[in-house]
């Protein structure tokens, strides 16, 4: 009964109790399946070494300890390039890459979603088609373009291409299509130009979409290791540095578990924060006609 009270009720539809219950049970069952490995990852990070290799294996930790994190800090303190450097590199790449991508992709998506003009259809189909091409073979042409521009071994080689991932434009365009034309026309009559309409009308109305996009783009850049473009240790990212630490095998299994947790926690925290603001903006959204 408690579960059902959770379902939103005030709709005037005949919702059968049984179906609601079954749907909710399905959700709970799959939720447990989805969450299990994550719960394990969290527990693992707090396990002392003897519990990591216990037989039969257990999911939950018995005697939680912070040793793994202290070990990590100790190893990090001995490294040649200070940890803060890796963190700064990652933050620069992630923030510029994410914010820039949201802005550029939205700016490009707005005309494509709301107007028909010469080349609009073709450009959009090129974007969609490019999603379906495997990135594994474009690595070499990409490298050639980069070296021609002189961007090898700079953060630009990671940031600039990430500003124009096709996925973001596609997502933004699909959401902007839902904005009522009447809203744009009203703004036009009030004397707003295209840039003004884009910035003050369209952007606030697709807030759920740009938060979605942020949630997509952030982990991708957060997890980058510099790929084949960055070689100097000074420019490497946190993901790369932590990856190096866990190469130690069994002896560093505990540290590895701690690293996995750290890499996981940041995108998830960001997701939680942005999600609550998605829900808030929905309550006051001016989307409805």
């Amino acid at each position: 009964m408690k579960m059902i009270a959770v379902l939103r009720t005030p709709k005037k539809l005949n919702r059968s109790f049984l179906v609601s219950f079954l749907l909710f049970a399905l959700l709970a069952l799959f939720g447990a399946f989805m969450a299990m490995p994550l719960i394990y990852a969290v527990n693992n990070a707090f396990k002392p070494l003897d519990e990591l290799f216990i037989f039969p294996p257990r999911i939950f930790v018995n005697n939680p300890t912070l040793d793994n994190f202290f070990d990590l800090v100790a190893i990090m303190g001995n490294s040649w390039v200070p940890l803060t450097r890796y963190i700064a590199n990652t933050i620069i790449i992630t923030i510029i890459g994410t914010a820039g991508h949201i802005f550029l992709a939205s700016a490009a998506a707005y005309p494509l979603a709301k107007y028909r003009f010469l080349g609009s259809k073709t450009l959009f189909s090129i974007v969609v088609l490019s999603l379906m091409f495997s990135g594994h073979v474009t690595a070499i042409p990409n490298y050639m373009v980069m070296s021609w521009l002189g961007w090898i071994n700079t953060h630009a080689s990671i940031i600039i291409p990430s500003l124009a991932f096709p996925l973001g434009l596609f997502l933004m365009k699909q959401f902007m299509e839902q904005i009522p034309d009447a809203l744009l026309e009203a703004a036009k009559i009030d004397g707003a130009n295209e840039y003004r309409i884009f910035w003050s009308i369209v952007m606030p109305n697709v807030k759920p979409a740009w938060l979605t996009l942020m949630i997509l783009q952030f982990p991708m850049l957060w997890g980058t290791d510099g790929g084949s473009f960055i070689y100097s240790e000074n420019l490497k990212t946190l993901h790369y540095a932590l990856g190096q630490i866990t190469q130690g095998g069994i002896a560093r299994a505990g540290v590895g578990a701690a690293v996995a947790l750290i890499l996981m926690v940041v995108p998830i925290t960001l997701f939680i924060i942005s999600q609550s603001s998605v829900i808030q903006t929905m309550a006051t959204s001016g989307m409805k006609e």
Binding site: P56, I140, I268, S276
Partner: protein, 319 residues
């Protein structure tokens, strides 16, 4: 000046119905939509330099023999004929990829929508928690190493440990090196990871549905949730549904990382070999870039075909 509505568009045509040259007309169109091109230009400039040009380059390369060191040598259709007539492993890869796509594509697409739809009916707090649980696997990228421990071949593996403890079997099974189990396991983990982007887009899409439509529907005689789903929710979400479909298709056909992480590269008897792992084999190990490009092109064409088919089906939604 932006008030170029119907009048602004038609009157000049009436005044001078003589053939304005095609170029003049194009130029005029370009000028009229100047602002649109300005808005798009930064994105398109970057997009063309780092995505379109490399893709076109690679499509062209599929007709060459190119080993990265020597200058490319034109070989015509040779790469393609070798691929289809002379490459047994590619046939295995193709078969596996279709297996993946046929199972994970539709299942995860429907699951994404179904879960988003159920979650959307919950109260905001619980909705937030459930969204997190379902989405977390795909943002915590490195977590799928856990599945390696679950399916580990010795009795330390969770699955083996569990099955032995409760007496289902006596000897541990080598899950990831047994041809029989590799493919289903990779499919399972792929499904676990695949409730990602489209799931999120569906949740956001469901929240932007106009509530007045639902109320109007209730007045017009829609009286159960299935009718509401089919006649109101699905049609209102068509843009997101198309977005999700494209993503699921690319995701389902491009499986590689998970197969490599779980089954190794190459997997036992190529049991989990996919088109993309085949491509990686030729592209980044053997450095036969022309051949790798041909593989990429074939995959590209398969995806485009599937996409066209799916879009056709999605247009029928809610009719």
């Amino acid at each position: 000046m932006q008030a170029k509505t119907a009048t602004g568009k038609t009157i000049p045509k009436l005044i001078q119905p003589t053939k304005t040259s095609k170029w003049a007309h194009t130029l005029k169109e370009l000028k009229r939509n100047k602002h649109h091109y300005i808005l798009m230009s930064p994105y398109m400039l970057i997009f063309f330099s780092f995505t379109v040009i490399p893709v076109v380059f690679s499509l062209g390369l599929s007709f060459f023999y190119f080993n990265v060191l020597e200058f490319p040598r034109f070989v015509g259709w040779q790469n393609y004929s070798r691929l289809f007539l002379n490459d047994d492993v590619f046939m295995i890869a193709l078969k596996n990829t279709f297996m993946f796509a046929v199972i994970t594509g539709p299942v995860s697409y429907i699951a994404c929508f179904l879960f988003a739809w159920i979650i959307n009916e919950l109260s905001p707090k619980i909705r937030a928690v459930m969204t997190l649980i379902f989405y977390a696997p795909s943002i915590s990228g490195n977590v799928f190493f856990i599945w390696l421990i679950v399916f580990s071949g010795d009795s330390y593996g969770y699955l083996n440990g569990f099955l032995i403890k409760y007496g289902f079997m006596l000897e541990p099974i080598l899950w990831l090196t047994n041809e029989k189990y590799i493919l289903p396991i990779v499919i399972l983990v792929q499904l676990w990871l695949s409730l990602g982007t489209s799931f999120l887009a569906f949740i956001a899409g469901l929240q932007t549905i106009d509530q007045t439509l639902i109320e109007a529907g209730a007045v017009d005689g829609i009286n159960n949730r299935w009718q509401e789903l089919w006649f109101i929710t699905l049609p209102s979400m068509r843009p997101q549904l198309l977005f999700g479909a494209v993503l699921q298709i690319t995701g389902a056909f491009a499986v590689a990382d998970i197969s490599i992480a779980l089954a190794g590269f190459p997997s036992v008897n190529y049991a989990a070999h996919t088109v993309v792992t085949h491509l990686m084999d030729y592209g980044s190990i053997r450095f036969e870039m022309g051949y790798a490009s041909a593989i990429a092109t074939v995959l590209f064409i398969i995806m485009i075909g599937t996409n066209m088919l799916t879009q056709k089906m999605l247009r029928k939604v809610g009719e």
